[in-house]
Amino acid sequence: MGSDSGWKRVLRGVLLTIVALFFLFPIFWVFLMSFQTNETILRIPPSIVFEPTLQNYVALISGKLVSNAGVLEIAFMKNLGNSLILSVVSVALSLLLGVPAAYAFARFKFRLGEDIAFTLLSFRFAPPLLVLLPLALYFQSMGLIDTYFGLIWVYQLITLPLILWIVRGYFEDISEDIEYAYRVDGNSWLRTFLKISVPLARPGIAAAMLLAFIFAWNNFVFALILASADKQPVTVGALAFVTASGIQYGQIAASIVLSVTPTLLLALYAQRYLVEGLSLGAVKG
């Protein structure tokens, strides 16, 4: 630590500039590209001076891809909607199921609780395909394949363990005396839980919720295996779109921008919560 000499400060500035360039330039470049026509994209040498156009976004939003080969129908906006439905409903369901369970794990020491908690934690790290391959065959025979219901059910594997583990840590930090005092006043268990425990754990719940949303939104392999084009989220849809559109590079860039904007905005808005959640409650920095 200590105070820096002049050349040290310069070195630090240069290094940080290189780091920032490496991590942020790709986002910036694709963003610029999404406002260009294919002609300006293919220009050599590349230049950041160009006349911005919205035609890529118009094509995506209207769902009609115009190329030399003709007009192609694209379902990209549908994919975007699917992402929203899958992530929002999955997280909501996980909160409903996970917050009371997290409370039970934190407050009541019971054998089954520890077993469940550890099973969930150890499978949090198991290869997703291992569970998905048999599940795809089950879903096929149960008629659940390619349904929102089936997908949201499977998405619980991503969102529920996350919410359980983060929120559990926050409940453990709440002093039992506060709850007890409220109970002694004659309030029911449920009332104490809703009026005292949940509000006190709110930062943890918010962190877990945001992180679960981002993980659900960014998931790729679940829908790749369990959904067809009609129910696919943007992560799978964008890949299919790249294959279908071939050389419509501006539109590919625009589709990328549209699919990452929600999570990036959320991250910027709630970065403090994310740091807590990402370090898995391990480090309260």
């Binding site: 790709p26 969930l120 790290f125 291992l130 089950y138 392999v221 740091v275």
Partner: protein, 299 residues
């Protein structure tokens, strides 16, 4: 107390009722897992349903003499080693640069978090655009540097490098966040004492910072190893395991085995091998993580 005391049954049953949904999810995982174990011991190819039968460990035995299996092991381990090493070094470096709590550093640490928020599959598409031979900015830049024929992910010689680069771009922020939080949580006294005594900064780093940071580094490295050995999204979106078999890591190979060659039995056996590796790693990780958590609570 009163309400619960009146109904002792409720008090006993409450934790079980509350954790019922989580239990159902557990069962929802364990049943397919059990099925996968069963499949892995079967001759089971969707294209030849008549040949299906229980064969104990033959799928596993077949791996021992299968060069494709050993290629998968080699590529997966190499990929994990390269990504985790670069991400640790870069993440630690950036965390050290951003250690002091200035406005500039805080803004930068938030901005640098952004790649982690992008879906890895989408990040792979971004880098595919950047390395496109016709207009990609990176292809243009290496062209200027004299490497005219640099083909990035489509050349077997540079494919691994390219995919590792994307992985480093996406996941270094994770290392950085965890190590930065660790650095900022370290006690100040040892550093102040060292400064008073005029101890050289390299000595401070290797003898004070690094040892105190080790629990955080271990946790972050184990977590990344667990994810990296299972990487699917980036590699599948970028090259589908190609060119040839250069990037056939576990999950990509298992996916193709199942969906291209419809060989459910072999695919399940391959995933079981991967599961065994992650099971060992995750047990070490969980122990390390709980220890760290307790320490963070204790302070």
């Amino acid at each position: 107390m009163s309400a619960a005391a009146k109904r002792p049954f409720m008090r006993l049953a409450l934790p079980y009722i509350l954790s019922l949904p989580a239990l159902l999810v557990c069962i929802g995982i364990l049943i397919p897992f059990g099925t996968a174990v069963y499949y892995s011991m079967q001759r089971y190819n969707l294209a030849f349903p008549m040949g299906r039968g229980f064969i104990w460990f033959e799928n596993y035995q077949a791996f021992l003499t299968d060069p494709a299996f050993w290629n998968t092991i080699r590529v997966s381990l190499l990929y994990t080693f390269l990504t985790v090493t670069f991400e640790l070094l870069l993440g630690l470096g950036v965390a050290l640069l951003l250690q002091r709590r200035t406005l500039m550093n805080n803004v930068l640490s938030i901005m640098l978090m952004l790649p982690l928020m992008i879906a890895p599959a989408i990040a792979a598409l971004m880098w595919k655009l950047m390395t496109n031979p016709n207009f990609g900015i990176l292809s243009y830049l290496v062209g200027l540097a004299g490497l005219e024929d640099f083909k990035w992910a489509s050349d077997p010689g540079t494919a691994l490098f390219t995919v590792v680069l994307v992985d480093v771009w996406v996941y270094t922020p994770f290392m950085m966040i965890l190590l930065l939080a660790g650095l900022r949580a370290l006690p100040r006294q040892p550093f102040e004492a060292a400064e008073l005594d005029g101890v050289p900064s390299s000595f401070v780093f290797f003898r004070i910072t690094l040892p105190m940071l080790t629990p955080y580094i271990l946790t972050a490295v184990l977590f990344r190893m667990l994810e990296s050995i299972q990487q699917f999204d980036i590699i599948y979106a970028m090259t589908q395991g190609g060119p040839g078999d250069t990037l056939m890591v576990f999950q990509v190979q298992a996916y193709l085995e199942r969906y291209q060659y419809t060989n459910v039995g072999r695919s399940a056996a391959l995933l079981m091998v991967l599961w065994a590796i992650t099971f060992i790693l995750s047990n070490i990780f969980v122990k390390q993580w709980l220890r760290l958590r307790e320490r963070a609570r204790g302070v």
